[in-house]
Symmetry: C2
């Protein structure tokens, strides 16, 4: 017995054309620890966009019912050689109802329940998901549970990672995002100091309204002085940046080092002994990261991804994190959406151009059944 439904696929051809289209698909029956979820809601996160649309030239694309075709410019086309001519499902996470299960006890226990899940193919009417990663939602709606994984677990992951590394304060860039707002609340609950970097006055306001104590605006003339003041007050020598390209990380390292040097009594040619740690967890700016030689050798910069972090943290920590998310889905971990779109509406010109901008507070929710 197979189930049939509509699903979104993205294909980058070897000759440089990106095709995103809705197609009728047959879903195989779940086996073992798999469940088949009738998907009711799935968010479009920044982490979905690289695969879904990348840097395709949407303005000059061709649009028809349930389909868009656009040119993928260089160097992005060559950089994604590994996916050329492969028809790929999209959508990291979502929520829906389990309609069939494999024969494992864990899978069978989910039958008929509404769950949040992480299938990697959430932009679809049905998706096969791993039962171990499903979170039963109880009375919550699919919309309330659709974003239960990526943003909540990432924001919680930052705080868990900081605690593991003995930190009592965090710097966060692009801090007014949905994830950033969650981080403000988590840090308040956990007594972790948080230095929020934003770039617009209205973003400052969003965070101050949540009770954030340290909010600095990178567009202000005294940005560096304010950032140093916040770091000095909180001892935040540890931070997360979703922008990636440009000088955000560099500015954080510089400010951290200047704070540390100001506390030194004698000059050291190698800079301070203060260890400075930054993580890049996104690529809102796909340009190169620029690191100037102005903060000695006591710094470390890493990429940060949720999945390897969870693997490193272990099952016990992950289970505790997921239970905390479930308990706070309508408060600390609540997500809000600008609008809802169907699978077909996802590939309409105006919508695609709009959601790809990843504007703060303007997240889209996909509802595959309309």
């Amino acid at each position: 017995m197979t189930t049939t439904g509509k699903q979104l696929f993205t294909t980058l051809s070897a000759d440089g054309k990106l095709t995103v289209e809705v197609a009728e698909t047959q879903f195989t029956d779940p086996t073992g620890n798999q469940v088949l979820v009738k998907m009711e809601a799935a968010p479009i996160n920044p982490s979905d966009l690289a695969l879904l649309l990348g840097q395709a030239e949407l303005e000059t694309g061709e649009y028809s019912a349930g389909k868009l075709v656009a040119t993928m410019p260089q160097p992005f086309h060559s950089a994604m050689k590994g996916r050329h001519d492969q028809r790929l499902p999209v959508g990291n996470e979502g929520a829906g109802t389990v309609v069939a299960t494999g024969d494992s006890e864990m899978a069978k226990a989910l039958m008929g329940q509404r769950v949040a899940c992480v299938p990697g193919s959430a932009y679809s009417q049905y998706a096969l998901a791993d039962a171990a990663m499903c979170l039963p939602l109880g009375d919550l709606t699919a919309e309330q549970g659709a974003s239960a994984f990526v943003n909540p677990m990432t924001a919680l992951g930052f705080v868990e990672n900081a605690k593991m590394d003995g930190q009592k304060a965090i710097v966060h860039a692009a801090a007014a995002s949905n994830l950033g707002q969650m981080l403000v609340k988590i840090c308040q609950e956990d007594g972790m100091e948080l230095v929020n970097i934003v770039r617009k006055p209205e973003q400052e306001q969003i965070l101050r309204d949540l009770g954030a104590k340290w909010v600095v605006n990178s567009s202000d003339g005294d940005f560096m002085a304010k950032l140093m003041e916040a770091i000095d007050a909180t001892d935040a020598f540890y931070g997360f940046d979703p922008i990636g390209g440009g000088t955000t990380v560099d500015a954080c390292f510089k400010a951290m080092e200047r704070v540390a040097v100001n506390k030194m009594t004698t000059y050291n040619r190698y800079g301070s002994n203060q260890q400075k740690r930054m993580f890049i967890y996104g690529r809102l700016d796909t340009g190169p990261t620029i690191l100037t030689p102005s903060y000695g050798f006591g710094w470390t910069l890493s990429g940060w991804l949720l999945t390897p972090f969870l693997a490193q943290a272990g099952v016990e920590t992950m289970t505790r994190m997921r239970q905390r998310v479930l308990a706070g889905l309508t408060s600390t971990f609540a997500s809000s959406y600008k609008t809802k779109v169907t699978l077909e509406q996802m590939v309409e010109k105006e919508a695609a151009i709009d959601y790809r901008q990843m504007k703060t507070g303007e997240k889209y929710l996909v509802t595959p059944w309309g």
Copy 2:
């Protein structure tokens, strides 16, 4: 009782003039664990140059007997605000004879011995040094022992650090340096694979003559292909770069990621799961480090300095490393010098311009007594 002798000082004035001059100095008697060393030889290492001369405009400097004065251009002048108007000693390491000691047993045991030491003021006829960091040289000459610390311990430190991190192979950039040649020999002794990156054919030859197996030339058209081939053969996802500025680290991360991706069977939007680790341990290029977003999120880049590494490694490891260096000072850890200069000759125009270029195989040795 005080001892009098000549010493070199470097001063960067608040108005942007760098003065390096030889001055008559009174050295206080050693106390506690200190020893007073009559310095016989001290190398000019890249790690000394930032403090000694920095980016001062030597071509247009004023030169007189035992003194040079040159303009320090921006942004370097402002970046070194912490040292403005301070008259600083220079010279990380050297060798000489202990002529007075403090009253600790460790210090007293060194009386009259020739030692390698790390006083931070080695460009001087006398220097106060920490007895715990002195290495008795036995029958070796001061010239043979002058470079017993910085390069040998750094090269050994890379291999120790790699072993601590479970690595079996290392990438090394600017690999034909004095330090790089030591690293080739250490890796041969320890069965650690080593991928050497150089930029000139004659540097390739130097390393091949030492028996280096993997030598790639970054000036060659097929550099990336050769680097990938070497990484693929050795599993070197871990490396050290003394250049700092530019794209050396970026090229290493790219090559490492491509090797890892080539082994994957399915496309992953986040790149490979292979952890890639690079360290910047010098600044031969003082321009910014450029990191392109082309190797996923599984990478970590850190500054690397010898002193914090040794502190982390612990006394036992450090003692073992030092004994290995002593045993190999005329073989594995032998240094060679282009020429010898007195303190006065260090501040002559032609010499200063020449040694600041830090050309491979053209290291200077300072002999403070002529």
